[in-house]
Subunit: 311 residues, 2 copies
């Protein structure tokens, strides 16, 4: 059996890299810049180089390395191919194949949100769970579905695109995906700010949020935790939409745990409580007590999950 | 490699049995009554007997039989155990283990709706697909999720319980599961009748449905296909809720095909068109063209899927 593996997480500005023992111990992590010029055609060669250099530097034997897992910000099909990754300026790219050529190691590519879900299921909040839903509340809403310990990539690489489940009919504003009423429009950091604007306009109720010129999601969450009535209204509204959506996803895959990640999840247990209240109201009876947890690996979820893919 | 396998589908009144070749050819099918007396403790012995008799009758060699798959109307966990199956008057039952003891063959139990989904993915409407959502519109709404060719059973055996995804807030009537606003309350045969009652009460519009004393789902669907304006309103409402729900499920697992089964699905292509119109409005862009198909195996889906479980 191999002793090592690499987990790579390609982001828009930097590539996070991890050398792991196969038991999940992180041996070393480092970053390299994401060179997006020329349609990002240096990104994968750079990844190959940094892996080869690390192998040389540490005097590792390639036979002792299980492979390279790599997370990509875009849909990845079952063959490890990308049709398009907008943030990297990529068109078609056979990611797994290229990395195998550059490194001579087995490689496996996956969508970054899916890969992060695998990381949280392996060594994070839901460590050891075989069936997990991860929802990432950041600038957008991402997600990843783990069934039987494996990523659900889906037919078009859209498995886990739960930020674009429609949760509200009649929404006038467009989501980035072109649809209307997507979960992302309410439960992302941007979405929370949008909901805040609407709620503040609807009521005359006093609120600490009124004194701020540029409200952020953190402002709303801080005010929510401090007991501000309008902020509570805002988060109850978000919790209702998010808890309702999660209960529907749970009716599909019935996970052991639901993990909440991304910047918004820094609000911690009060956020969980707010989502869970609605989740439990709507969830199928046998799923009502499914664990709901805050993600623990933060930005490292991607390298952990990527490493796990090749084990 | 084995040549044969058995597929068993336990229903509330009869047990459907199939002897298959491992390539999926149905060699023979037959039924035995479901003896529910004494907490249904004869049901599994009866299944064992009918299999052993068939083996004797056909002079088969047990070494040449891959095993016995069995679908149960209730949640089944990964070990093939049932905590409770209300329709069979069962408490705890180690189904796979019992069938293995009675027959001396490897056995695998699954929830009947999940097993039917596997049947449709193997030899039915979505033959050959590895990733499928089946929704069964019958008295209730059941479902099954196939990922990578396998049933998603879920942590509590509630994988595919998509009939109990909440699709409408503020519903006053209770679903059989105890929640409010479940998909089943609108898209099942019973649900369509309920929606019809509401729509007819809301409007004075003329409709063929008004002359009927006891409206059935078939009446509504026939009137819908004949162009009755109120019936169209009813089915547009149902199609909106169902299409919206399916688009959310597709954002979770991104299937190759969505299969619509159950008695309601006999309405055929006009029903698909009505659901698909809303599905495409709400679905994540890369899932908008996912195939939506009418189930083709009817009541045989269960024995096909059960057989597939042991292959």
């Amino acid at each position: 059996m191999s002793s090592y593996c690499f987990g790579i997480d390609v982001g828009g500005t930097s590539v996070k890299c991890g050398l792991f023992k196969t038991d999940g111990t992180l041996v070393e992590k480092w970053e390299i810049p994401t060179r997006r010029e020329n349609n990002g055609d240096k990104i994968l060669p750079d990844v190959g180089d940094t892996i080869n250099n690390k192998i040389k530097e540490r005097n590792l034997d390639k036979k002792d390395i299980a492979g390279v897992g790599i997370g990509i910000p875009g849909p990845v099909n079952g063959k490890g191919e990308v049709e398009r990754a907008v943030n990297l300026y990529w068109g078609f790219k056979a990611v797994s194949k290229e990395i195998e050529e550059y490194t001579g190691l087995p490689a496996k590519a996956g969508n970054d949100a899916n890969v992060a879900a695998l990381g949280e299921a392996w060594k994070g909040a839901a460590a050891g769970a075989q069936n997990v839903i991860l929802v990432t509340l950041g600038t957008g809403v991402g997600g990843g579905i783990i069934v039987d310990g494996k990523i659900v990539a889906g037919e078009h690489g859209a498995g886990g695109e739960i930020g674009h489940a429609m949760v509200l009919r009649g929404e006038k504003e467009k989501c980035n995906c072109g649809n209307h009423g997507c979960l992302e429009q309410y439960a992302s950091a941007t979405g929370i700010v949008r909901v805040a604007g609407r709620k503040l306009a609807e009521t005359d109720e006093d609120s600490v949020l009124r004194s701020l010129s540029n409200i952020t999601a953190k402002d709303v969450l801080d005010a929510f935790k401090a007991g501000d009535k309008v902020a509570i209204d805002i988060m109850e509204y978000v919790g209702d939409l998010l808890g309702g959506a999660l209960s529907g996803f749970a009716a599909v895959v019935d996970p052991e745990a639901i993990v909440i990640g991304g910047g918004v999840s820094k609000a911690g247990q009060p956020l969980i409580d707010c989502i869970q209240k609605y989740y439990r109201e709507y969830a199928f009876p046998s799923c009502k007590n499914t664990r709901m947890l805050i993600a623990t690996l933060g930005n490292d979820a991607g390298i952990y999950g990527a490493a796990k893919m090749v084990l």
